[in-house]
Amino acid sequence: MSKYKMHILVCAGTGCSSSESNLVCEILIDEVERKGLGGDVQIIRTGCFGFCEKGPIVKVLPDNTFYTNVKPADAKEIVDEHIIKGRKVYRLLYTDPESGEHLPDSKHMGFYQKQIRVALRNCGTIDPENIDEAIARDAYQALGKVITEMGPDVAINEIKSSGLRGRGGAGFPTGLKWEIARKNDADQKYVVCNADEGDPGAFMDRSILEGDPHSIIEAMAICGYCIGASKGLVYIRAEYPLAVKRLKIAIAQAHEYGLLGDNIFGTDFSFDISLKYGAGAFVCGEETALIHSMEGKRGEPTNKPPFPAQSGYLGKPTNVNNVETFANIPVIILKGAEWFSSIGTEKSKGTKVFALAGKINNVGLIEIPMGITLREIIYEIGGGIKNGKKFKAVQTGGPSGGCLTEKHLDIPIDYESLTASGSMMGSGGMIVLDEDDCMVSVAKFYLEFIVDESCGKCAPCRIGNKRMHETLKRITDGKGTQEDLDKLKNLSYVIKDTSLCGLGQTSPNPVLSTMEHFMDEYNEHVIDKKCRAGQCSNLLYYVISEEECIGCMACLRACPTHAISGEKKEAHVINQEICIKCGACMEKCKFDAITLRSDYPRVSVPIV
């Protein structure tokens, strides 16, 4: 990289590509060529910078200038001003929301200050389609070290003592998993990378695959060497075309360099990787379902034991790890278990990547050391709640997880404390909700997802979740009863206790967790027929404002059910018992006196 004086990094992750970053990149290349700077300035398409909110992102090295919201029309100015004249284009710099100052480089941005990038170390730094750049950043060194120096047992011990736990959600110790797979004798074993990221609102794995595919290939080869497998399979969603493309390129390049294939590093170790496509089924994130899907069958889970480490793909011992877990492996081998375990808390070591989304200012991909608090994530990295609204909850762990509320803002983020507060680490989706979100609707949303995605094999999940969803729909429609609430709770426990796989066993979590923290909202929906967030349309009321109404009687005449009463030139009133919410009155009113509200003035009638 050293022969160039300057580098322009353009984000080519999915988020930025969706807002024309490829065009920005092409114009930059053209412009640099036209000015005869091709030999001095290199333009690189990189993986995700993480700061998706303000994409497309363009970063200029060596001075770390961080341009946000770059449009194709801005590309010429960056070359003319910054590259040629050395003057930064101020209007494109990131503006600190508090001070209103333009920040000249990414090091001073609150978004990056608390982050430690381990799994994402190369995302936004290298061109993922160029193996030389990955190698310049130490790719495949760890593989060489394991094969030629360490040997399988020492390497597995290193992973074990690093304390790395599965990043897919459950948090099983990775080293231990490898050790079990190593101990099972078989003529053929398999290494599987689980890249079926089904959690809606999470995009960690895809960003790693798009930004740094070589780290995954290297880690799979290391795993293969350690457990004695010569074949690796990546189970990847077909909905991730860019990740598939880059992974294919990376595999071909690794073959070309002799880093995959026969006799790697001149030893007798051979390893090859092929791709298996998912086809849109959330349940395939579960190990046994994933294996069945790879075998060309319906992705239905089976009982454990036997565990995949004993009998997995085609009946052979199989080690399944998640993308992010693999991304940590090469670093642990190179920098040592001690370095890795110095980050994080006592039982949760290292870092975790989260996809921060929802009602937050800085939507994006973040990697934080375990143990920092939710408050730091939301207010320092995330830049606070959008439009200055009030924070309500964070949903973690997707459809299997739960909510964290204001009182959890100061708990440390690690496997144990998240579980203790009724949520879970999950794969890393973190959805921020504000005061305008109705928690009953959120629970209904997740249940709807589960009903769609339940594989149908066992009755509690297939039928139970359907009934739960119907009940929640009744409640948000304003037809719920107190009995419904009790039923919801009971059914939740039955589904948890009797379902076959992890999907069913965790599916009632969003309901249980919202009921625990937001029971008053459930009660309001059921008893007062009110939705304080104003999200449930059946629980909105047409109300006539006493101040605005002039008593013209236009609405009264328009009402098909005669729900409106009032004398001429006096404020009218809508009888909510009779109103069918057709909206005819609101249309007729010329004085904007009629509005839709989440509540109406309730008159208390004295009991005689």
Binding site: T14, S18, G198, P200, R206, A281, D452
Partner: protein
Amino acid sequence: MSQNIKVNPEVYSFMEKKTGTDNVEVKVNLSKEKVDKINEICNMFDNEPRELINVLHEAQHEFGYLPAEVQDVIAHNLHISVAQVYGVVTFYSYFSMIPKGEHPISICTGTACYVRGAEKVLEEFKKELNIKVGETTSDGKFSINCLRCVGACGLSPVVLVGERVFGRVSPDGVKAILDEYRK
């Protein structure tokens, strides 16, 4: 899928006969070119039953959807039952048995898009096109389906028309998007 429909012998002869089951009748209404194409795809994967999902991906890529006839031929080639193929096709949301519109519209209903109002955008599309999710308009121009997270959560709510991504879509903006493709 019926098993006892009379076979068009002309078409059937293009297919390899499975040993021992020569008397099984298969309903095929595909042209020779299409059957050849499916055979080619199945051969790419060595007619290996465990490659079924990869075969289906290729076939859907080729034909746009997976009608019963195509499934018949695939089952025949991979030496598995039609029921097994049908079971897999209907299990995974990515596979479709009805043709998609010329401009397939996918609305992201992942959590991030949901909390930023994807539901209202979806309603607007349904209203504008007068079709339900999973359906195609009668002129074959548009179809609607939902998907869970395209990973562009910074742009939520997100709508895809074909491969093109529209970010921060509001219900008011739906008509403008459709008009662009209606021309």
